[in-house]
Structure formats: C-alpha cells, structure tokens
Amino acid sequence: MRLAPYIAYLKKSFLRKSAYRFDHLMSILSTCLRIFIFWEIYRTLYGTRQEVDGITMAMVTTNFILSMGLDVVFGMDDNFIPGKIHDGSIATELLRPMSIKGRMIAENMGSSVFKLIFHFIPALLIAQIMIGILPPASPMMFMCFLISALLGYGVMWSISFALQMLSFWVITTWSITTLKNVVINIFSGTMLPLWFMPEWMDRILRFLPFSSIYFTPVQIYLGQLSGAEILEKCCIQIIWILIIYCVGDILWKCGQRKLVVQGG
C-alpha cells in the first residue's frame, strides 16, 4: 500500500481547514468560554470544600480543559460517507485505486492535526493563563497520556465510522449522529467529570466505550492509575477500537453489496 496519496489528502484537508480565519478565531473563543464557564460552575459547587470524594478542584479543572480540548481535536466529519452516498459520488470514489476508509482517516487526521496545533494549543494556553491546569503527574505519565489519547481518537473514529455505515440503509443519518454526540457529550466526561457519576451509572458505563475516549487519558495524565491499570485501560481502548471497527467493516461490506447508485 502506498502512503503518498493518503498523505496528500491529509495535507489537503489540513489546508482546507486554514481557509476560514475569522471563523476559526471565534471557535477558539467558544472553546475557552465553555471551559471557563464549566470552571465557574464547579467552583461554585465546590465552595469552600478542598475536595469531594478525593477529587480536588484542580483535578476537575484539568479534566475539563483536557477533555474539551481533545473533544475539539477528535471532531469527526460524520457526513463523509452519508454525503457521498446521498449525492451518488460514492460510485466514483469506489472506482479509485485507493481505499476510501484510508482516505477517510487521512482527511480526518489532517483536520485533527490542524485543530491540535491551531485550536487545542492556543485554547490550552489561554486556559492556563486564566485558570491554570495541573502539570502531568510525571514525564512517563505524559507519554502514556499521549498514547492513550491516540487510542481515544481511535475509539472516537471507529464509532463515527460504524455509524456512518448505517447510511447505506437509512436516508438521513442526521438523527443518528446527533444522538451519538448527545451520548458522547454526557458519558465521556466532557461536561460531567465521570468521578461524580452515581454508582449505578458507573456500573453501566463500565460496559460502554465512552469513558475510553477522553477520561482514560485524563486519568493517566493526572497519575490516578498504576502501571498495571494503565495497561488494562489501554487494552480496553484497543478492544473497543477492534470491536467497533469490525462491526463497521461488516456493515461496510454488506452496504457495498446493497448499494445502488442512480445517476450521479
């Protein structure tokens, strides 16, 4: 498999992102405002308490900054395949001598790299100045955080991939992807630190992939997990990627067989 065309797509997608400057500036502001306001809410909730269930305010702040930052970087184009099926261009895409899945991930990584450099990092700096973030527990933990974050990206990507495949059967996937975002927003820890979930919810979440996206990397960053636990959680991340990807791939194969393109 030659990588060159995929890299070209990655670059193209990176450059496309940089076209709208004003829009981009506003979205950085939006992210900072979101982080800042959740920080305010939790500051009020904490009041004079130093910690709640062993979780300090600084840890909550760090959770919000990191998970909301990663949330920006992990943004998926949920309309990639549905859009192509809708307008019929999927037919020509399938004829190209390259994998459409590969292209999908290349384009997505292009925009993710752009957002990492020009959205996540500026927002992180502003948040650091305004409210402050805890440093990583150790350089080693920081490395593990990066690896786990990459795996989290994988989980997020495979969820988006699998759901997009449903567009072979349903006409509008808007509802499906919107509901996906609702569930991820609530159960991945971006709006609600997962430490504070009630016991029963915690037990349900253990069997779902959502805490693998942002929460595992954040826990590693904060040094909450021992070496063995890190290994275990990362394996869980990998297992989720494999399961969801395989489901998506089966749907993809069935979908292609079923696909009928009229005109285009």
Partner: protein
C-alpha cells in the same frame, strides 16, 4: 397592512407545515432528536445535582424551572424567526434577491415564509415537560397575577431572542458569514443561561445581563416567582423589565435592519 396579508400568512403557514411534515416518521424522529439533543444540558444538571444537591442555593427542580423558560421561549420564537436564523444562507445562495422582487415587506416574507417546526416541537416540548415537572415542586402559589406575569415574561423572552436573531441576520448584509458569531454569542451563551447568572464572574454577568440579555429571558422572571437569596445583588426593578427590554430590543433591531437593508449588495450569481 393590506387586507390579504392575513390570508397570505395562512397560506404560508399551511405550505410550511406540509413541507416539514411531508415524511411523517422522519419528522417525528427529527423532533425527538432535537428534544434529546437539548435535553443534554438537563441530564448534565440532573447528574451534577444528584452529587452536589444544590448550585448556588438552587435545587434540581428550581434549575429545571429556570431552564424551562429558556426552551419555551425558544420554541415559540423559532416558529417566527427561522428565516432570520438561516438568513446567511438565504443571502449567500441569492434567494434573498427573489424576496426583494416580491411586492411584500421583506421582513414579513422572512418571518412567515419559513418555520422550523422540528425545533419548535423539540424545544417547546422540552420546555413544557420541564415546566410540568418543576412548577409544582418549586413552591410557587400560582394565581392570576402570576399567570399574567408569566405570560408577559414569555412574550418578552421571545422578543429578546428574536431581536438577537434579527440583529445577527442584519450583520449578514455587511459580513456575509456570521454563523460563528451566532454560535458564540447565541447558542453558546444559551447553554449557560440555563444556570443562575449570579454564579458567574462579573464580566460574564455583564455579558448576560447587558449585552446578550439572556438573564432577562429566564433568570429574572424565575426570580420573580422563586425569590431566591442571590437576587439581592441585583436591583429589584430587573424583575419587571423583561417585556420592556424585549420590545425595546426588537424595535432597535428593526431600525438597524431598515437602515442596513439599503446597503444590501447581491452576492448571487
């Protein structure tokens, strides 16, 4: 006003309803999706207060009550102001030029020629549900006067948000692309208007009271009915200003629109 204006409004409304509900199951699914999407904030508050009991003195039901006003007003507002929400697109794809050629007021056409019923049902429905859950539990002794106050508060809230939409739509004439501004100053702010404004720091309070006055959409009207302690830091008069601000803002936005529309240049092809 021409005598057939009402007639035209009715025809528009009928056509919109037919178009939006052409595919019945899809329409239902979409409305439910909007409902659930907007409920995200509520679920987050539910879990948060399950853990922390109260936020700045507001318990879960009081928070739901505060939130319900936001959704009720949006649900009503979007029936009228969808055309303004999507005005950027109308300008960019040139269909605004068609409006100009028709022998009716521009704003009239924009307001009555489109209505996002999925959003109206989704948001409005959530508002009604939250109101029903909370209204009994927050200790309000409902009487005629309160009901009248509540109605005026809703009208005011609708006008405030309508005026913000009208203002942002007017900016399209100068800027062409304002969706990020709308995202930042409207939709982003609205997420936090569900929380008592008193818990934020001064700059954000000023933003929510004086710049994008969401505080008057739900916080002050709720305070009038609930009388929580954190009201003490604001002037008493704020409790009664919602309809006045709504009308004032709408008139101001309307004149800004009238003034700006003269500079409209088609971007179309």
């Amino acid at each position: 006003m021409r005598s057939d204006t009402l007639n035209l409004t009715w025809i528009y409304t009928k056509k919109i309803m037919k178009a939006w509900f052409q595919y019945r199951s899809d329409a239902l699914l979409r409305s439910v999706t909007v409902f659930l999407r907007e409920a995200t904030g509520i679920i987050v508050i539910y879990f948060t207060l399950l853990k922390f009991d109260s936020l700045n003195g507001w318990n879960m039901y009081e928070m739901f009550f505060l939130y319900s006003l936001l959704f009720l007003t949006y649900g009503i507002m979007i029936i009228f102001f969808t055309g303004l929400r999507d005005f950027g697109r109308t300008v960019r794809d040139g269909s605004f030029d068609r409006y100009i050629l028709r022998p009716r007021g521009l704003l009239f056409q924009i307001i009555f020629a489109n209505a996002d019923w999925f959003a109206a049902v989704g948001h409005g429905g959530l508002g009604v549900v939250l109101f029903l859950i909370s209204a009994q539990k927050v200790g309000i002794e409902w009487n005629v006067w309160y009901a009248v106050y509540y109605m005026f508060a809703i009208i005011g809230g609708v006008l405030i948000q309508g005026a913000i939409f009208l203002f942002l739509a007017t900016l399209n004439i100068y800027l062409l692309e304002t969706s990020s501004l709308k995202e930042l100053f409207y939709f982003n702010m609205r997420k936090f208007a569900g929380y008592p404004v008193s818990l934020f720091q001064k700059p954000i309070q000023i933003l929510m009271i004086y710049v994008v006055p969401f505080a008057f959409v739900n916080y002050f009207p709720s305070q009038y009915l609930l009388r929580k302690d954190d009201m003490q830091q604001y002037p008493e008069i704020f409790l009664y200003l919602t309809p006045v601000i709504g009308i004032g803002m709408y008139i101001a936005a309307y004149f800004f629109w009238r003034y700006s529309i003269r500079f409209y240049k088609s971007s179309g092809n």
